[in-house]
């Protein structure tokens, strides 16, 4: 049961990473790509870490895996803000949208 839940979490995590990459390639401007990377990739990492922590041998090992998540979150939130802020300072206008066919 735990084995199954762990495998499911790993696959779901990989799915979010994949969606993040697709968003990075398909979204039209720097701001929307930031949304895709920051949100989807971090959720992917969270799922992968949770999946591996589920089958860790000791509690300390599981907690160590989970400890990585807040660090990675802090990193990407800070970098995402820095990039968005810089882009705005440089006067990069956000993509405004177009009619769907």
């Amino acid at each position: 049961m735990i084995e199954f839940a762990s495998a499911a979490l790993l696959v779901i995590g990989a799915f979010f990473y994949f969606a993040g990459t697709v968003g990075l390639l398909r979204f039209p401007d720097i701001y929307t790509r930031l949304h895709a990377l920051a949100k989807a990739d971090n959720l992917g990492l969270g799922c992968v870490l949770a999946g591996l922590a589920l089958r860790a041998e000791t509690l300390a090992t599981a907690l160590k895996l989970l400890l990585i998540w807040p660090l990675a979150l802090a990193a990407s939130a800070a970098v995402a803000y820095a990039i968005a802020h810089r882009a705005e300072t440089l006067g990069i206008a956000p993509w405004r949208g177009e009619e769907e066919p």
């Binding site: 495998a7 790993l10 696959v11 995590g13 990989a14 990473y17 994949f18 993040g20 990459t21 990075l24 390639l25 720097i30 790509r33 930031l34 990377l37 920051a38 990739d41 971090n42 992917g44 990492l45 992968v48 870490l49 591996l52 090992t61 160590k64 895996l65 400890l67 990585i68 660090l71 990675a72 802090a74 990193a75 990407s76 939130a77 800070a78 970098v79 995402a80 803000y81 820095a82 990039i83 802020h85 810089r86 882009a87 300072t89 440089l90 990069i92």
Partner: protein, 93 residues
């Protein structure tokens, strides 16, 4: 079964994430603006750490978890330093 061994879920997923990273890097390399290329900083934070922890389990190398932890820690420190610079850089460049 045949002589081939199933490579294991963790290893397959690690390779899958690596392929994602390569695809995104190729896109960033021909990205239109410098800001687009800066997105790679974000990518390495999340995808790099994900690949490392999966490999730690797949290869039975628990010390790779320490590498992942250190990478995440460095990414956090670098990210915050980066953000502070961008913060101050509002008027002077």
């Amino acid at each position: 079964m045949t002589g081939l061994e199933w490579p294991g879920l963790e290893l397959s997923l690690a390779l899958f994430l690596l392929a994602n990273l390569v695809a995104a890097l190729m896109a960033a390399e021909r990205g239109p603006t410098a800001a687009d290329r800066m997105l790679t900083a974000l990518l390495f934070g999340s995808t790099g750490v994900g690949v490392l922890v999966l490999l730690a389990v797949a290869m039975r190398l628990p010390s790779l978890v320490d590498v992942a932890l250190t990478l995440a820690l460095l990414a956090a420190i670098a990210g915050i330093a980066f953000a502070r610079r961008a913060w101050r850089g509002t008027s002077d460049d």
